[in-house]
Symmetry: C2
């Protein structure tokens, strides 16, 4: 299939096929063509905004008929350029933002069926109104959309308790590259009918089809939440604390984040009136949350746990939030430190995982390697201890030119990835591959896996019209 | 590829290629060719018993070179003929029973790497010795092997808390149909590098490759277990109780099984000196387990929970086990009823799931439909409430010929499946498809999904040498 005709002719053809109301072009598509961080601004032939699964099917057929390809997009909050076109003259964005129906919330069944364009926080609110809980929790939850969460197998702060998005999905509805519909919106908890095809689409970042609706598990509400900020001697102690907490707290932990001392400085740069809840002099901090419903006294559990670990010297100091608003304040440090990093200008953001048992030695080794190679840089390592997931970010020193900064970022990434490879880690713990991490991904992909991935892609999308340039290269490009 | 040569020539060729020690034939292979229930006895060209991944690769290549196909086998405890050959003159069984190394148990990492042939209960014991817990729990755990558990995505009694086997798997090593190895034995908790290929092999029942080793999640030990047997007024009450228990007990339930009154009779037929722990006159029974470690008082939680639900009249009577041996006795009813059914002779066994909210009405409707059509039959419905998973078995009356019994079983299945289809249920909640359920599976498979499944199979196993006849038919047969 070859693309023919000018961009405006193709827009006109799409409008004729689908109705003008579905098709955006020109200035109207700018926000769809810019990535979440604002690092990349690109273009597309058009943006199609279907309102129903049938309209998605029609869009796929129309785009295919023109010899163009498709970049599916949800809330456009991805961090790896998974929904940012890289071939503006041949790619059409299909935005799911108008498919916003919550088709069903079934309290008796602990399940819901929701369209791809529903914003995560809105869905969480509706589920809460129904007396239940959807545990996926991300920084971008006010903007990201469920379809994108599933497509990227999003992680977040509750993974240690509830798993990645994959583990929350019961069923999918997917429009396939030929415009047919994979109808799998079951809400069965247990359904073991052979090969589970839906798993392929979770984490595929739109390279195999367009997820249009999802059925998910719901949980009992986390009625009681105990939040604590703890000061520790080392990151190793934080990991020992996590292990102990899993046992002592019966796997009722819903978050266990670690932060370096600089977290406070960065958070205060972003939120100047943020009060320090405790001394900022401890080498490691943990923000820990236990939650549950019903008859277990969560607050008492947190108190008894902390009593024990402070007596044993594992935790040096701690603050337990006495109210929801105090808990929110503790979380501001975690959230503010991200904003604070952004204010310091361009920097390296990573999303790394290693086996839990090697997390502390990895961070130590990687930070040391960066410091040796790039002496002026500041390393900011924080993340989700329970998942072995660290965001080891590197902030170049002030006074450099834009080009020098980019060079330092590039070098820092190389240094960190080299250490990571030695530790058997992953270059993408939760953010996915997209276009940003494709080269690093393919470079490390064993030939057998590459061959299998390509064969599966080819089997489902033989013309490579679904999100080309994302994750894999077609045989001819690679 | 065409098969040529006599069976004994092929056995000789395999022995030459692989060494005689790896190849069994003749009378030595009988036990591999009989299914777990003893319903089917068949044959195979040979049984190959590799001791290492390299030997599995060699076996695959040797079998392929002879134009034969492969039926992978673990503990041969499957219930749907997934590892029972259906073409004895062209199929070679590859048994993983000699690959029994536990490669690593990492307490600090809550993970283990284990070869496919390790028996589940032996693995669980070894993990327990290391102070941790592997939660997969099945009736067959003394015989089934981890590779088979993963290949069939096994369920069991702890699914409501820990998920199916799929959710316990961190990584896989798989020998592919061309003899190459998919090396994915990562123990990373979080690794979001695009399409997750390993998911394809989980539940594929050996149709895409041979799983040779698995890395799995381990859990903190369930140090404290509270077990209770409860009498209720209806199955609906049991479901209401489950919902309440999820909230009240903070998702710390590890089992929630329901049983009909006849369970006691059946169990006592199998275990004559089994004592009745309570009146056998309640219309529904629940066997419930709460478990955990550390600082949560599990026994107190169970007591307070039962106090509340008995006060509210949801539970009519209850017995809490005061010791591990008492708990074991309560479980004997659940286990004994299976044995009791077997003693009554051939009967229909099903493995059905429906949405939780429809479980009680489904059982009522399906039992009524069976009773109308086959008046002398006894329905025995029991199962895993939290998963919406019921085993609705049907026992034909005494005094029928073998043929008449088979006819009643066949008719009962048709009646139940018709009701099931109306309820949007699954014909296989946890047992898989294999050969036994293939016709019923394919009959219900939407054309789009069938096309996708076939395309994926074709992409990974283009010559259909992996477990042909299981799950799917090749295009030419279908």
């Amino acid at each position: 299939m070859k693309t023919s005709g000018s961009s405006s002719e193709m827009v006109a053809a799409l409008a004729t096929a689908l109705g003008g109301d579905l098709v955006l072009s020109g200035q109207d598509i700018e926000r769809y063509c810019r990535d979440w961080h604002g690092d990349v601004t690109t273009g597309a032939v058009a943006v199609i905004r279907p309102r129903s699964t049938a309209e998605v099917c029609a869009a796929v057929r129309a785009i295919r008929a023109l010899g163009l390809s498709i970049v599916p997009q949800g809330g456009n909050t991805g961090l790896v350029l998974g929904c940012t076109p890289d071939d503006p003259s041949r790619q059409v964005i299909v935005s799911l933002e108008r498919m916003t129906a919550i088709r069903r919330i079934d309290e008796d069944d602990f399940s819901a069926v929701v369209e791809a364009g529903v914003i995560l926080s809105e869905f969480k609110d509706r589920v809460e109104e129904a007396g239940l809980y959807f545990p996926l929790a991300l920084g971008a939850q006010g903007s990201c959309r469920i379809g994108g969460n599933v497509s990227t197998n999003a992680g977040g702060i509750n993974v240690l308790r509830y798993g990645m998005t994959r583990e929350l999905v019961l069923g999918l509805e997917v429009v396939l590259p030929d415009g047919s519909v994979f109808e799998g919106l079951s809400t069965l908890r247990k359904d073991n009918r052979g090969i589970d095809l839906k798993q392929l689409f979770i984490g595929a970042e739109g390279t195999l089809g367009i997820i249009t609706a999802v059925s998910v598990k719901l949980m009992p509400p986390a009625e009681k939440v105990a939040t604590a900020l703890l000061g520790l001697g080392t990151l190793s102690d934080a990991i020992a604390l996590y292990r102990r907490a899993r046992r002592d707290c019966c796997d009722l932990m819903s978050a266990f984040e670690f932060m370096p001392p600089i977290a406070f400085t960065l958070a205060q740069e972003a939120i100047p009136d943020l009060a320090m809840p405790m001394s900022a002099d401890y080498p490691a901090y943990v923000l820990m949350e236990i939650s549950g419903s019903g008859l277990v006294d969560i607050e008492d559990l947190m108190h008894r746990f902390l009593e024990g670990v402070m007596e044993d010297g594992l935790v040096l100091d701690g603050v337990i939030a006495a109210s929801r608003s105090q808990a929110k304040n503790l979380w501001l440090f975690r959230e503010g430190m991200n904003e604070g990093q952004a204010r310091r200008g361009p920097h390296l953001r990573t999303d790394i995982s290693v086996p839990l048992s090697r997390l502390a030695t990895f961070v130590e080794a990687a930070e040391a390697a960066v410091t040796v190679r790039l002496p002026g840089c500041i390393c900011v390592s924080y993340g989700h201890v329970g998942d072995g997931n660290v965001h080891l970010n590197v902030l170049p020193p002030g006074g450099l030119s834009g080009e020098e900064v980019q060079q330092q970022i590039y070098e820092a990434k190389g240094v960190i990835n080299a250490v990571l490879d030695d530790f058997g880690g992953s270059i993408s713990a939760e953010h996915g591959i997209g276009r940003l991490k494709k080269a690093d991904f393919l470079q490390r992909l064993p030939p057998v896996q590459r061959r299998l991935l390509t064969a599966v892609k080819q089997a489902i999308d033989p013309d490579w019209i679904m999100n080309p340039g994302c994750q894999l290269n077609s045989d001819t490009d690679s």
